[in-house]
Symmetry: C2
Subunit: 364 residues, 2 copies
């Protein structure tokens, strides 16, 4: 037997997510409607696709590990310096880099109970100790989160805004209150993966001179590039430079960098995606109402529907998968486990989902 | 000031490699001949390019995090089980996973002095303590490596075979001798990135039931997919399953998985790449001889040329870059720093390099 490290040897054998492909292998056929992972139903920008086609024959070359062009473009886009932008292999990679950079085994990390599993995966992976605040009315409870962080001298405070898995959002003032009460030396991680869908007044302005905050963004959602793995952090230069000490420098692939650069230049596409997502969310709200259910307000590309209790939510999810071949996800822990989380699909997918959900509820 | 973790806070601000793109930004113009990073001059397989073009519009979907199809195909290719194959974001990612899985801060790690910088980067990043054996006649010294590992009770022993940066290789018996003397509970990491170019009798047979050995392979070299970041480990099921506890499950992009699968199915292409690389290496050997230099025997896609001493090697490298816009790399530490490392280029690139090197040596 080889000897494993203390941290990794003690970790349980869990993965953050079971993918739809694994369900397909279990079912023996393809998923019919894939609206469970908050993937964009509206694809990548045609400019991103063109960049990939143009670059495909050059994948024999490593990428630029400094991601210079993409970081320059992102810096211009956000009005910060290139040194304030750190690239990652998706937002998940950046969450891992942040945890590894700041957490020693046993250090407390504050987050809402039932928050993003991949952040929790990294915290566990580096031996962090969770201190959690419960969601309140299906929203992150800023005040309770600040309390639990202060009381435990948390080194990291994680806040997903707009929030996954509820779709809710906090006001700028609520977020400022968390920052004002941040323990000395701690870092506030604002996971803004859904920022493109956020309503006015919910995204705090970027202040890259403030070392206490890092913003995480991604090309996986509005840009429709989840499979390409491009995320970035906007933060103080010292923090971004710290990632260079440990990150996979060549990890964001050549084609992914090129596609992201092209997509960033296609803001018209992003605007149209956001509009189509808004339309889709209205459909889901109307569907929920027509079935006597409540859809939560959403600042993301998905809608959480309240099934009333966890058993009904789990049963509905299982029936949708097994009987209707519709892939959704839902939060794992109470009180969020009353929700099923439905990604905005294309119009066809939304109609298909409406019919499937109606049938499932009629039968159960 | 935010507080960094003990390990990361203490790391120096170094990166494993300066990329050619950084030199281009410094020079203010494009590199003319890029033969410094052992990228394949012969591109990716046309089947890989076709797979990318076919998949580009679907990057809005996450990849299969289990990499099921690619791992199945690799398992068949190597005659092992899918559970013996672990995917990584390039071989570099797997080296990081191995170090993190086995090393606690202060644990000894054995490698040749001057070996692969990215492995060293990960060992430093997780607090490992190097114990090294010097190269001997520009080859890994299997016996000295086994000695230093045994004497220090190393938990990891790293061996690059065929070797980067020398191009040399060890016999199967030499490698078996290292394994036979491996400390109890230790893991032997055989970095076989250049395995496609290896001569008969230099690659030990795969024995996935042997927990003490892990083999690292990559699509970056013969497959010409360095920019796509696909590597894999072949090892015991327990080790591969351990990576699942900590790896970036969605990290190998959708297009990269699809391209790798297509490339694996194009063995004819790989055979032709290997033949063209052999031809190129003969050119470099003849060039070195014609200039009164010695090219080392190579089992890789590059040739190390002995410049006689470190100053001459460094001067030659600098002049090739600044005066000729030719990008090479060379080992950083003695005694390997007498070498310059020349990747096999296309015929045109080889002619260009021959002329450039001849001019540089005539002037200096």
């Amino acid at each position: 037997m080889i000897r494993y490290s203390r941290l990794v040897g003690a970790l349980p054998a869990v993965v953050p997510f079971v993918p739809p492909e694994a369900f397909e292998r279990r079912l023996g056929h393809a998923i019919r409607i894939r609206i469970g992972a908050n993937e964009s139903a509206f694809g990548p920008s045609p400019k991103a696709v063109a960049a990939i086609n143009a670059g495909a024959a050059r994948i024999n070359w490593y990428c630029d590990p400094e991601g210079y062009e993409l970081r320059e473009a992102l810096a211009r886009h956000h009005g910060v310096a290139r040194e304030n932008i750190g690239l990652g292999i998706g937002a998940d990679d950046l969450l891992g880099l942040i945890v590894r950079s700041t957490i020693d085994p046993g250090d407390p990390v504050a987050m809402s109970h039932g928050g993003y599993p991949t952040f929790a995966f990294h915290v566990a992976g580096f031996g962090g100790k969770f201190v959690t605040a419960p969601y309140r009315d299906f929203r992150n409870d800023a005040s309770a989160l600040a309390d639990v962080a202060a009381k435990n001298d948390a080194r990291l405070v994680y806040l997903s805004n707009p929030d996954n898995p509820t779709g809710s959002w906090l006001s700028i003032d609520e977020q400022k209150a968390v920052l004002a009460r941040l323990p000395a030396g701690a870092l506030l991680v604002l996971d803004e993966a859904y920022s493109d869908f956020a309503p006015t007044g919910s995204l705090p302005p970027l202040d890259p001179d403030d070392e206490r905050v890092v913003h995480i963004r991604t090309f996986s959602k509005a840009h429709g590039m989840a499979g390409a793995r491009v995320g970035y952090a906007i933060g103080a230069k010292g923090l971004i430079a710290t990632f260079d000490k440990i990150r996979h420098h060549f990890g964001v692939t050549r084609l992914s960098q090129e596609a992201a650069l092209a997509s960033l230049g296609d803001q018209e596409f992003i605007t149209s995606v956001v509009a189509r997502v808004e339309e889709g969310k209205r459909d889901y709200v109307a569907l929920a109402e027509s079935l006597g259910l409540k859809a939560l307000p959403s600042a993301t590309n998905f809608v959480a529907i309240d099934m009333g209790d966890g058993d009904r939510a789990r049963r509905t999810l299982a029936r949708l998968l097994d009987d209707e071949s519709v892939f959704l996800r839902m939060p794992g822990v109470a009180p969020l486990d009353r929700l099923i989380r439905v990604t905005v699909g294309t119009k066809t997918e939304r109609h298909g989902f409406a019919a499937a959900l109606t049938r499932v509820l009629a039968r159960n």
